[in-house]
Assembly symmetry: C2
């Protein structure tokens, strides 16, 4: 099995009610890759950083079997930087600073070793860049999963529509689903989005769990684990996606039933992510911790 | 088995994006009683109305085996009236009018036929009135469940604290739980509230489902069913409570495992309530419809 992940690798400045980090590793591909690395291998990462990017972070990714042949280091450029602040409810955040840096020139090149991947995970990026990755692959992967955001729904709707026809699964949050579909009701929004291309829609609702809408109008729900200590939600959505594609790539079964199990792994991985700042908690997980947490989730919805 | 329900019986004026009702049957005891009536009997209702209350509504309750010996009709007085407006997201509402009318003089009298109830459901009311009901019962019911709201948390905190020591299960929404406990995190809030008296806390999150916190720090989650057509959320929380106590009274098993099953019935009944205005949908349910909906819920969280 083989998973290819495209997305950002970044430095983030984070402020939550529980602390501050001036500069911490971040980016969608970082979270997706780390999360998936606990469930499958190899994980190929395609992204771009500046020459300020620390070798220790590349080493860390490699130690987790995240392969970085596709991580371009751009000389004379700086790594993408994002700074945000969360308030007490942590469901919304303020962006304080965005420095695109290398992202302005990002032209992803998929290494030969990753071109025959089974599963392709397109992290949130300009749709045209996502498309350029799809076009580099000689054969269509068995599963294509894509994330997107409000910015592309507003600014590049036509490119986004074209991309949607290329993917099996789209992951968005509830507000993005409403914006993309023009429907307030989420069941209707899911139907409208599935008519745009993706047979499957994953609706991420943060602390309220996630919904999986299937090709026959099936609905499956994975709760979020109520946690006493939520420190920083940054990356939780990407970690969720990483758990989903990591599980599916590991089993090679892309049926709707398999996706349900994948959603439970997605929720499990995301529950770890929020327990510490940035990707800190995602660097030191053990198989035992994941198994125990997965059992907590089963317990949460187990009718006695 | 026998269930005693105390709460309001009212007329409501309702406005949602899907329509308007100038004057429709409402009140917490109405919703709780109707909902429970599909799962257990007898259901004894204790409340108060004015002499403007229509006999057809009393007949309707009786047809559903909701016994109204404890429904006082106050001569020369008007029934409690509430008017509210919901916006598109339906998670919040504006109160447009409140006419307490008979509620200003409400002094509930539990009829003898209901004094030895197994389960007592105290709908949202002034805590002192809830207490007066508890004090009329010769023996403590096997299960006491109580609902409350922000108004009593703010205005009569001492009376509320006294009441909390008398109950087994408290039902509140997430904002009320935060307000009552002073904790933003819901896991910590639940612990703090359970230390005030109720061994069990039910946290209602509306369209995001409900959490059940148990005596040993257990957590169980019941999702809400994603529905394509939500017309009016009025009464959903009370209908939820009615499903919970109705189920528990019907089985006579008040263990935490039984409460988990009760929560699934609670969610099932609430999912019907929101499909029509006021209690309209709660008047014509069938056993088959309830069984089918209960199966939809099981399906929603069934990992394949």
């Amino acid at each position: 099995m083989s998973l290819l992940v495209i997305g950002t690798v970044a430095y983030d400045g984070l402020e939550t009610p529980f602390g501050v980090r001036e500069r911490i590793l971040g980016g969608s591909a970082t979270y997706i890759g780390l999360s998936a690395s606990y469930l499958t291998k190899p994980v190929h990462l395609v992204s771009v950083v500046g020459d300020d990017f620390e070798q220790t972070h590349i080493d860390m990714l490699n130690r987790h079997n995240v392969r970085t042949e596709g991580l371009e280091v751009m000389a004379g450029q700086k790594t993408f930087f994002w700074k945000g602040k969360y308030h007490l409810d942590m469901n919304s955040r303020d962006t304080l600073d965005t420095q695109l840096n290398v992202l302005e020139h990002f032209n992803p090149k998929v290494p030969d070793s990753a071109k025959n991947c089974d599963v392709l995970m397109l992290g949130n990026l300009v749709p045209a860049i996502q498309m350029s990755v799809v076009e580099q692959l000689p054969t269509r992967p068995k599963l294509v999963v894509m994330d997107t955001m409000n910015l592309w729904i507003e600014n590049t709707p036509e490119d986004l529509r074209k991309m949607l026809k290329k993917v099996d699964v789209l992951t968005v949050n509830d507000e993005e689903a409403r914006q993309l579909s023009g429907e307030h009701n989420l069941v209707k929004a899911a139907r409208a989005i599935r008519a745009m291309g993706p047979k499957i829609l994953i609706l991420k609702k943060g602390e309220h769990g996630a919904l999986l809408f299937g090709p026959e109008d099936e609905i499956f729900f994975a709760p979020a684990l109520p946690l006493a200590d939520v420190v920083d939600p940054t990356g939780a959505g990407d970690t969720f996606a990483g758990g989903f594609v990591g599980y599916l790539d590991s089993v090679g079964d892309y049926s709707f039933d398999s996706m349900k199990r994948g959603l439970m792994y997605a929720a499990t991985m995301a529950s770890f992510c929020v327990e510490a700042f940035g990707p800190e908690r995602m660097m030191d997980l053990t198989e035992d911790a994941i198994r125990a947490r997965r059992a907590d989730f089963a317990q949460l919805i187990q009718v006695g």
